[in-house]
Amino acid sequence: MKKYTYTEQKDTRSGFGEGLLEAGKRNPNAVALCADLIGSLKMDDFKAAFPERFFQVGIAEANMIGMAAGLATAGKIPFTGTFANFSTARVLDQIRQSVAYSKKNVKICASHAGLTLGEDGATHQTMEDISMMKNLPNMVVINPCDFNQTKAATLAILEYEGPVYLRFGRPKVPNFTPADQKFEIGKALLLNEGKDVTIVATGHMVWKALEAGQKLFEMGIEAEIINIHTIKPLDVQAVLQSVSKTACVVTCEEHLRNGGLGDSIAQLLALNVPTPIEMVAVDDQFGESGTPEQLMEKYGLETIDIVNAALKVIKRK
């Protein structure tokens, strides 16, 4: 099995910041809006480089989404930036009507998603955002796994015409994706081949899935590991092809089980090839304050949880 390594840990939001700056250089129509969180979203460099194309909207997310829709109508490519909770739940109807239904070329860029936001607690830790966004027709939903992939995703959505939700996070995580790897929206990445169990993971959970694969390998189990960075549209072929070989699947995400990646995979399999599935995700509950590490452990999103889910699902074959 292939071993993945990394030289440094970096936050995915900084990948977004670098990608946004590059997007601004590549396309003069790229504009950015922020709701009073420039530093947290790493939008400082874009703002400094293109002050006239940067819109500080204050703590007014609904207005930000509407303005983005208007900018897009006029031919601009707006990237909105705030925390994931305020990018989704706070403005769901604005996104629904002015962006998704109206098919506007708006990129909703959402940081601090999931439990790893940490100490701020449940008011800020959204684990429902993927669910809300994937349920909107016309909306593409992307959750990249590391710094390099987030940067590449930011540039890929610049080229894509239509509404996109780009989800990333706060903590520093292993940066293992090759810097030159092209990001193809809707195309899953096969990270490791294996015959015993398919592990599909998204976002921060991809690295943990790789760690779990290593541990399983040491136990004599060959796991096939797939990075699903695009939750919608789902790479149906990649998943079906893998389970045709392994006949069982584990899904991993920093999100509620309801409405997340696992839910999409379960629907796909149920309609095509009913297959045993285990979901490493958060049960129907809100988070709480704590360090990211403590929270991931308490809410069952650690490497060991993936290993245990794999062992369990293999027995269900």
């Binding site: 504009v31 007014a60 609904a62 303005m67 208007g70 109508t73 006029a74 109807d93 604005q94």
Partner: protein
């Protein structure tokens, strides 16, 4: 015939269209549509500088956003009669497989529509975004909007108002259809808007007031408003109208907000509005 008379005749035909459209499907919103008919007629037939055909981006032309999307029969009639799509298509309003959805949408690619509206309070933000894009492009044309007065209950309106005042979005002319009625009754009872002029002025806007069912006043005030653009302030027009204007039994009540006339009521209404440009 004077320009004013031509506009009045156009508005009369638009009112006939509105009534026939909502009657045909026994649904829709005639009250607000009738009240704003003179304004939208003036906007598309006289005030706005438009290019032929429909360009979604609206570059180098004035653009309009309807924020209170429920007055779609009015919007559709004015768009059709301004050449955006065939007038005959008005007969498909609210019917299955139509481009003329209950509330306006871009999903059906109906020329003239730039955003979906219906869920209230969103159009001002969208218009501000378009206005900012025009500034980036060095485009000196204007962005116009229309809002219901009841719509001003929505918080997003005031987020947008704060932004446009603070950031001096001065290529924008918003209009409030101040008919003082909303679904549940008179605004004063449902949610009193208080001193609306003072509110907008406090947010940094330049405020005009206009008699929205008087074509002469509309043309005059809109010219004044246009002359006041690019002076560091967004502009809002408090447009005094009568809900149901043009049909005697529909005026002065909120009853016709979302109710269509029956056969007899339609005939009564149409006798008050002579056919001027030919029914669809």
């Amino acid at each position: 015939m004077s320009n004013i008379q031509q506009l009045q005749q156009f508005a009369t035909q638009v009112r006939r269209d509105i009534l026939r459209m909502v009657h045909a499907v026994n649904s829709g919103h005639p009250g607000g549509s009738l009240g704003a008919a003179d304004f939208l007629t003036a906007l598309y037939q006289s005030v706005m500088e438009r290019k032929p055909g429909f360009d979604m981006m609206g570059k180098n032309e004035d653009v309009f956003y309807l924020s209170n999307g429920h007055i779609s029969p009015l919007f559709y009639s004015v768009l059709a009669r301004s050449g955006y799509f065939p007038v005959s298509e008005l007969s498909t309003f609210r019917k299955i497989n139509s481009r003329l959805q209950g509330h306006p949408t871009t999903a059906e690619h109906l020329p003239g529509i730039r955003i979906a509206s219906g869920s209230l309070g969103q159009g001002l933000s969208v218009a501000i975004g378009h206005a900012q894009a025009k500034k980036l492009d060095g485009d000196r044309q204007l962005v116009f909007t229309l809002h219901g007065d009841g719509e001003l209950d929505e918080g997003q309106i005031w987020e947008a108002a704060l932004y446009a005042g603070a950031k001096k979005v001065d290529n924008l002319i918003a209009t409030v259809d101040y008919n003082k009625q909303q679904i549940d009754g008179p605004i004063q009872l449902v949610m009193d808007l208080g001193d609306l002029r003072a509110k907008w002025e406090a947010f940094g806007w330049k405020v005009f007031e206009m008699q929205g069912n008087d074509m002469v006043d509309i043309i005059k005030v809109m010219a004044e408003a246009k002359a006041a653009t690019f002076q560091q302030k967004p502009i809002i027009i408090l447009m005094h109208t009568q809900m149901g204007a043009g049909v005697d039994f529909m005026m002065g009540t909120h009853k016709w907000h979302g109710q269509a006339p029956n056969d007899q009521q339609l005939q009564n209404a149409l006798t008050q509005l002579p056919e001027t440009l030919g029914d669809y």
